[in-house]
Symmetry: C2
Subunit: 278 residues, 2 copies
């Protein structure tokens, strides 16, 4: 379907995408990385078929970007004009309104199809060394259509990504994506990072089990990437923090008031929501 795929950025996400495409499709994979040694490593270990020079960009039918938000915008604004007319471009940045705002018109101008993308998978590690051909197995792949994309392109992408091992594809607007991600992913990282800051954490050994481990796991994050993602989605995320603080305050008030009935209701509502929503 996509004979030649160009992947720009061969870190955890781009590297995993390259390995997945090599393992599960017949597509030829071209790889580009700012630090050339990483591209050479990817070539040596078979993650890609060739290192992409600018002259090769126009051979790509599908371009997948695995860079940080601003770097993705910068790279695409510079390189879109060098690409084949009608090719399909998907980024993998965890915020979407910011990307669409910067790329939609440029894609129209360059005669390429830009679709926002976000694979719902990751690891607490960065870089090609940690990339896996199985990282996306069963995961959800989100696509955000833009004015530069067509129904046919979206259907091609959905079929191709399902063939890579994704468990489902979801279409939504950039705004829907950013509000949901503020809650399901960004807030989780903020809460985890805030949680670990209690002075009690210094001596938790011997006093902790699964719940502490779960609540603090994603505090181990890449702060350079996440601070950029958070600020690209500042208001939706700040509103989710407002929301969780508001609810925490309800529990705190009931606890300080010794109000068993109210506290039981608050906890029951939470349990019932979790059971209903999964």
């Amino acid at each position: 379907m996509f004979d030649t795929v160009l992947i720009a950025g061969l870190g955890l996400m781009g590297g995993s995408m390259a390995k997945t495409i090599k393992a599960r499709t017949l597509s030829r994979v071209l790889g580009w990385n700012r630090t050339r040694a990483t591209a050479e490593q990817a070539l040596a270990d078979g993650s890609i078929d060739a290192i992409a020079t600018e002259a090769l960009y126009k051979e790509a039918d599908l371009v997948i970007i695995g860079l940080y938000p601003q770097a993705t915008v910068d790279w695409l604004l510079e390189n879109m004009p060098k690409m084949k007319k009608g090719c399909v471009i998907v980024d993998m940045v965890g915020v979407k309104q910011f990307m669409v705002d910067h790329l939609e018109q440029a894609a129209l101008d360059a005669g390429v199809h830009y679709v926002g993308g976000h694979p719902m998978a990751g690891r607490e590690f960065s870089g090609l060394d940690y990339s896996l051909p199985t990282l996306f197995d069963g995961a959800s792949m989100i696509f955000v259509p833009t004015k530069s994309s067509t129904e046919r392109v979206l259907e091609q992408l959905e079929a191709y990504f399902m063939s890579l091992g994704f468990g489902q594809t979801v279409r939504c607007t950039a705004q829907q994506h950013d509000h949901m991600i503020a809650f399901t992913s960004q807030l989780a990282h903020v809460v985890s990072s805030a949680y670990i800051k209690s002075p009690e954490a210094d001596k938790h050994n011997g006093y902790s089990a699964g719940s502490y481990k779960d609540l603090t796991r994603v505090a181990k994050l890449n702060e350079t990437m996440w601070s950029e993602l958070f600020l690209c989605n500042a208001e939706p995320l700040a509103q989710e923090i407002d929301e969780v603080i508001k609810h925490l305050d309800e529990y705190r008030k009931a606890i300080r008031a010794g109000d068993r009935e109210e506290l039981t209701i608050l906890l029951r509502n939470g349990r019932e929501r979790k059971e209903r929503l999964g």
Copy 2:
């Protein structure tokens, strides 16, 4: 070491303790449960050797209680006088100052050794049906000495619990325990329960991965038990909620101010704490 063990309360914790002792030691296990049908079920499936009548209480060398906080206090105040002088009593309630305040003097009066206990293991289910002989494998067992316990009793308990498969035993004061548990366990349940209340949770399907799952897992809790535990440890828990709200507000301010440098520092500090503390 403890020839006969009496277990009062055959739910998830008491049932698991009975099954573990039967599987790993030669101790005879007597079981008591308020609803007699549960004790009969435990007898039928081999979790206990006999149902404990009051006449049998005095045969127990070790008494382990698997009841809720107030129920544990009530049961022990009523039944301690019927027990063998010099026997050892351990409860499994997740708060300790409340227990010691109510039981220490009564144990001295009855001539028995009361030690506060808290096995750091659990499941998101309740009842004998979910109890497991492996629930405590590798877990930490916390002991809180009281004026009624001796060094020899504590050493016996530590050796016996290690023989059950616990990974370590920890000794601390009731106050140390309650402050740590407010953070490692109780706060995790409050945060998880508050987290799931965002309106965005209603439509998270397709937009969530591991971090959402981790942050909301323990929202599925037994609100009758946890509301009682929270109110038995109200001020330490309320202070931990104060603490996490204070930190959440720091992230929120940096995000609303668009302050990339401050946000990066906040996230880096969290990552470094997680890496250092585990």
